[in-house]
Symmetry: C2
Subunit: 335 residues, 2 copies
């Protein structure tokens, strides 16, 4: 399980495209209170509109980590980034990275970490060993976001649902299973980086016993209908032993993204398959609603789509960006 030191300084490198800084924007939007400021090279043309702080200044203001908030081309950190990260390490900050290449593969970072005492944390990787799953029923309540595909709003929905539960006065904790989620939460596990045998066990540890009325809102991964990642999805589903599922979907997709031979199933079929699989570790599991990424639809089309789908499936249908997820939070409370 990763445990990150907040507050953060967000590092943007020499970013020129806003879309390359998705992680930094996500952190600014979802854990603003944990972000002291931003830092970048003079060449950068994208800003988060946060206070500019050098690593040394951020350390003086109490920062715990500098977080690489941009994607490095090919996963290799360019030399001009390295000197800034070394400065952060020498100021005692941890460096947090979600890149493919490990921070420890850069000798200058290893040396700077030894000098300054900061840690090198690769949230995309998982070096911890986990026990096998036990299937033991845990106390507290759990909801897991599942999807008809990858990358269509499972993290966003879980974050929004956590906020909506708080707004209803419920105790709720976002549980992160992907790299950006771990950075936002400051804790969690990149579940797809765990050794296959221990995925369910890691998911069990991610949402331990809790108070009876407390909700863990668990970020889903992958999809049961995905030819590469369904195993991860199933292990996470079993270890999470959710009381409730929220199905996330993007109506503009007919097939799994970049897998044109793999159709996305009918939504009732998808719900039935998820509930059938989840019943292994929680017989009482139910789907409480759908979270739609409706960015491809006009306002009028969204209204009629949501209304027709809600009538057909007899479930609340929301888009977190169009009206929020309060209906899902309300559906959870009676459980």
């Amino acid at each position: 399980m990763h445990q990150l030191r907040k507050p953060y300084l967000l590092f943007l490198g020499d970013v020129a495209l806003k879309s390359d800084a998705k992680t930094a924007f996500g952190l600014r939007d979802w854990c603003r209170a944990d972000v002291l400021g931003e830092w970048s090279l003079p060449e950068a043309t994208v800003s988060l509109d946060l206070p500019r702080l050098s690593p040394a200044e951020a350390a003086r203001q109490g920062a715990g980590s500098i977080v690489i908030g941009v994607a490095a081309v090919g996963g290799v950190l360019p030399p001009q980034w390295l000197s800034e990260l070394e400065a952060a390490l020498e100021a005692g900050l941890d460096v947090v990275s979600g890149q493919h290449s490990r921070l420890s593969s850069f000798p200058s970072l290893v040396q700077a970490a030894q000098r300054g005492g900061g840690r090198l944390i690769d949230v995309r990787h998982s070096d911890q060993s986990f026990p096998a799953g036990t299937g033991r029923k845990r106390s507290g309540k759990r909801v897991l976001t599942v999807g008809t595909d990858c990358a269509l709003g499972k993290k966003y929905t879980a974050l929004a649902l956590t906020q909506a539960l708080h707004q209803l006065g419920a105790a709720a904790t976002f549980r992160a299973t992907g790299q950006t989620g771990v950075m936002i939460a400051g804790a969690g596990v990149a579940i797809d980086a765990v050794i296959a045998d221990f995925v369910a066990g890691a998911a069990e540890q991610l949402s331990p016993d809790n108070a009876p009325g407390h909700w863990d809102v668990i970020e889903g991964q992958g999809a049961l209908f995905h030819p590469a990642y369904a195993g991860v999805t199933l292990g996470l589903l079993h270890g999470s032993q959710p009381d409730a599922l929220v199905l996330c979907h993007d109506p503009s997709r007919d097939t799994i993204e970049t897998y044109p031979d793999f159709p996305i199933p009918d939504l009732q079929v998808a719900i039935d398959r998820y509930v059938e699989a989840a019943r292994l570790t929680n017989r009482a599991v139910r789907c409480v609603g759908l979270s739609i990424n409706s960015s491809s639809l006009s306002d009028a089309d969204w209204a009629s789509y949501a209304s027709a789908l809600s009538t057909r499936l007899q479930l609340p249908v929301v888009d977190p960006l169009r009206g929020g997820v309060a209906a899902l939070a309300q559906a959870l409370l009676p459980l």
Copy 2:
């Protein structure tokens, strides 16, 4: 993918219980032609009845590897084993281990390997990186053994089925997904040790494109109904894209082994769930029969059990140890 150097010298350490030497007996029984002999300490009281060869003698006779064929208590190799393994390494042999602890964690073995040029190979671990699954349809035929639980004959059934296909004149290759299987085949991948995201991709690489009439007989792992390991099972199932499934079952078990709260489903339900999941990557998949571990049944009980089950499911029902698996091989050939 592990690639081992045959022929083998089987090492028994100071084994006193036959059951601790399961791996060595499995190798003797399933790849006798690849085994030059056995070696053990004077304290050992179990023998495989093979020629006794010291590591140096085995190396002179052309051995490629010494294989640790016994379980070490707590996974820690005792000092008296280490000196024999060092001698093997100095004679140029590879050391092959299925223990939990890695061979490279023993400095004296690392040093001996450097001196002699042999490799340290931990078949329980997987240090290779694999690509994500593609779902691309491959040429050739594939059959996967699946189960209602772990440890009830999936490897044994796959090995027997490979032999039975050969006896019918068919081209067939056993594809190993567990440590003992990898040792027997001399190649394969410990699929449960792969990073979760790449299980389906590793399974795809394990059974690459092949001749149209060739059968890959793939060793299954885990069970879809297992609260700890179902994710591994599903990833292997999707990556294998099997044309045929054989369901393995032990009628003496009502619940998953060591998980008394998890019932084993009805066999028709189990078949339906496996076929439903496997259809994602091969629409034409079917279950061709059942392989039963009937060691708990008398001859008379086995006969009536097999007959009733075969009638109910309309499928061949065999026990590899009671009459063999020819009926399964015959069921494959028309596919």
